[in-house]
Amino acid sequence: MYEFKKGFYSDVRIEDRFSTQIRLQNGQLHEAKVTTEKKAFVRVFDGKMWYYTSTDDVSSVQQALNELYAYAHSDKNIDRNPIVSRYQTNKDVKIVFAEHCVKDVPFEEKLKLVSETDAKLTSSLCNYKSAQYLDRYSLYEFYSSKGADIKYDFQTCGIAYGLAFAHGEDTMQEQLSKARTEFSQLNYSDEELHDFISRCEDFILNAKPVQAGSYPVVLAPIVTGVFAHESFGHKSESDFMLGDEAMAKEWTLGKKVGSDILTIRESGVFQGSGYVPYDDEGTAATDTYLIKNGVLTGRLHSAATAAALNEQLTGNARAISCDYEPIVRMTTTFVESGDSTFEQLIAPIKHGYYIYDFKHGSGMSTFTIAPNLAYEIVDGKVAGPVKIAVLTGNVFETLGLIDGVGNDRQILSFVTGGCGKMEQYPLNVGLGGPHIRVSKMNVQ
């Protein structure tokens, strides 16, 4: 298809992306946009340096390749390069969303869905509402000088509502969202909407400040997922180990890094916002145990990091779009189920907190989760709502303080936001887990 020049490794990634965005503010239509973009990202490697370019004119890909070859220097042994030799040569067509493609759903149906649900979200304490319908269908193609020839698709759609409540001098904003792979799965029941409003009203009317300190904490599945993603997922991205031999020794597989009941997995095979059947280097998705029973068992790789650490590819080289090169990123990261019920997790807690959902999270040496809705736990029972700005803790200490894992694992998808790493934001990822209990976290 393309004329790949000898003496170089080259590949071409093409994304044909269809997306819809509908936005309402206080019930009024503010945006109604359907976007179709077809772009290509072209890479050339000469064994010493990579050369990249992108184009929104896919008919000019060959010209782009030729321009990059002019920058690079031919290497007759390029096929024996440890990075190049790792690249897979998959030939596959994996189209799984075409029969339920969001492109085929009339725009009016999308507008009706988001508007009708919006109209049902009412509260005398809610002063401002924004509503969004978002979808995306991407058809990917990948070709390499080693012979890879792959075509696959990705789809996500969802509705998201942001509500601002006020009472006295307090204000709060909360989001309700649902992301799925098929449009037909996006409905909310009246009961779900009523429960959401009731919970928000209870919070704005009754939430009390907390006394900052260290407490036992139970995290809801969505918060467990954020914790896994932020606290350990990013540390599993192997590019931060490049060039640092001491670091590689520090992170030897087999090292104990968490409590015995903690297992964290990472996989691109789950259909949802972290579905990545092939990564942006043409590597097939794998199932990677990052931590198994508290022991470091794996990490995430691109071909360059796998070659540097002499490990296997994991299918985690990803870019947010055809404007960027792939770097090591997560797909779907989650904590595996344990054997406790929610009631068993909270039962031994005399005084602690239940974190129901979150606004945002981040993680370096210290992780931070900013909760939205949170509740006090008193004498083993969930009590009233509390205002918590952030939960924080040292990552490695906290991984060792997980002393209860629920039996209710959920894998969750998202239609707004995403993962950020350096210049590339937002990347669609999935995350999840069960309820977990941490014996001690800093609550502010």
Binding site: H30, E31, A164, F240, G243, D244, T368, Q444
Partner: protein, 408 residues
């Protein structure tokens, strides 16, 4: 009826740096085109990538008027203005060798650290024109440095960061700044004894206030600052602007996404502590009958919306030492703080240094900044300066007093 055409051309040369080595060169050139039409109180928009077919875009935008998206049709006087703010930074052939030389020098001068991430040369050309005869053209460029600094053997993804944008490449200044940070990082100090300190930061607390100054939230009683428009709300010394002055900003058009050019390129959100305006686009300004701040943003094929490009805090001092008498805590890296519904802020600090007499003396253990937004921007606000510590680029220092808790 009114029509608008916008074109945005971007050129980017981006070097990825891995452990002190230039690993890749990325070459991106893009062009985005926008056509908007306003008629009978509605807006229609369409856009494209690459070379524009304006007739087709106009037809498509006209057809989208039928979507019924309300938007005010505002008119303006004929005006033509071109600003070329570009400066010569590198010949393209010199870019990679110069950056690699810089990295070699940083590595040699700071042998216990590894330097990674991006070094970029960007240029842009943005134009706006409408059927009233307004025609604006801006050209700009920048050298953008964003280094992730890692102590060799550290279990962290990165331990420090250094970044700046500039219209020149001053290798000596960069090396001096980075060495200042690296030397201080290696000198571990115990916690300061005080529980209330002077903090020198990058303006992180402002982000919590800004979202409450969006007109849509403010006028729907969902803002912490409800009913305070026109009132003294913050410290006398605090002035927050939308600043698109080409003499002060780098690679930022002097007009917003709706072609609004503020007088002197500056408009006040907060002036001397008084809440003067709110973050608006033309639509929200008209909807709430409030003056427009001129800070609209827009996707190339989307309806304009409120943005915050050019948000700036005016300097209150010409040097950091004017603001900080004695000791202070210099906050370099915070991790995901937030604010409660009552305005209480908690901000975990991962990297901070003790600052005294214009110098970074050493690295402090981790702690959490605890403050209230009203107090922090009120009595506890000390001032702002972009001069005093770093020599390369313009890096703003936001100084305030706060409690520090959770000393590790």
């Amino acid at each position: 009826m009114k029509t608008e055409k916008l074109v945005s051309k971007k050129s980017n040369r981006c070097l990825n740096v891995v452990a002190n080595q230039v690993e890749s060169l990325r070459i991106n050139n893009s062009k985005q085109n926008t056509f908007r039409i306003y008629d009978n109180g509605f807006i229609g928009v369409d856009g494209s990538l690459g070379e524009a077919d304006w007739e087709q875009l106009e037809q498509s935008a006209k057809a989208k008027l039928a979507q019924g998206i309300d938007y005010p049709e505002t008119h303006s006087k004929q005006r033509v203005l071109t600003v070329d703010a570009t400066k010569h930074i590198f010949d393209e052939k010199d870019f990679i060798p110069a950056v690699q030389y810089l990295l070699d020098r940083l590595g040699a001068e700071n042998p216990q650290f590894l330097f990674s991430n991006k070094v970029q040369l960007n240029s842009s050309e943005d134009s706006y024109e409408n059927s009233d005869g307004e025609r604006y053209l801006y050209r700009g460029n920048q050298f953008l440095l964003s280094l992730a600094i890692k102590l060799k053997g550290s279990p962290n993804i990165m331990d420090e960061g250094y970044g700046a944008e500039s219209l020149d490449f001053d290798e000596d200044a960069i090396c001096r700044d980075v060495k200042l940070i690296c030397d201080a990082f290696l000198n571990k100090l115990p916690h300061v004894e005080e529980d209330e300190v002077t903090v020198i930061g990058g303006g992180e607390p402002l982000q919590y206030a800004i979202q409450h100054l969006i007109a849509d939230l403010y006028f729907n009683n969902a803002s912490l600052f409800a009913d305070e428009l026109g009132q003294k709300l913050f410290n006398d010394k605090l002035s927050i602007t939308i600043n698109r002055n080409p003499a002060e900003q780098i690679n930022l058009p002097f007009f917003d996404a709706e072609g609004v050019v503020n007088e002197g390129y500056v408009n006040y959100l907060v002036k001397n502590g008084v809440l003067e305006r709110l973050l608006t686009c033309k639509k929200s300004a008209a909807q709430y009958d409030t003056p427009n701040l001129g800070c609209a943003g827009a996707a190339y094929n989307g309806v304009p919306n409120v943005g915050a490009e050019g948000l700036d805090v005016q300097n209150t001092a010409t040097d950091l030492c004017e603001l900080v008498k004695g000791k202070a805590v210099f906050v370099s890296d915070t991790g995901g703080g937030d604010m409660t519904p009552s305005g209480d802020i908690s901000m975990p600090v991962m990297t901070a240094y003790l600052f005294e007499n214009g110098k970074l003396l050493g690295r402090l253990p981790e702690f959490v900044i605890s403050a209230n937004i009203f107090q922090l921007l009120g009595d506890d606000f000390v001032g702002v300066t972009d001069s005093g510590l770093f020599k390369f680029g313009k890096q703003k220092h936001f100084v305030y007093k706060a409690k520090i808790v959770n000393k590790a």
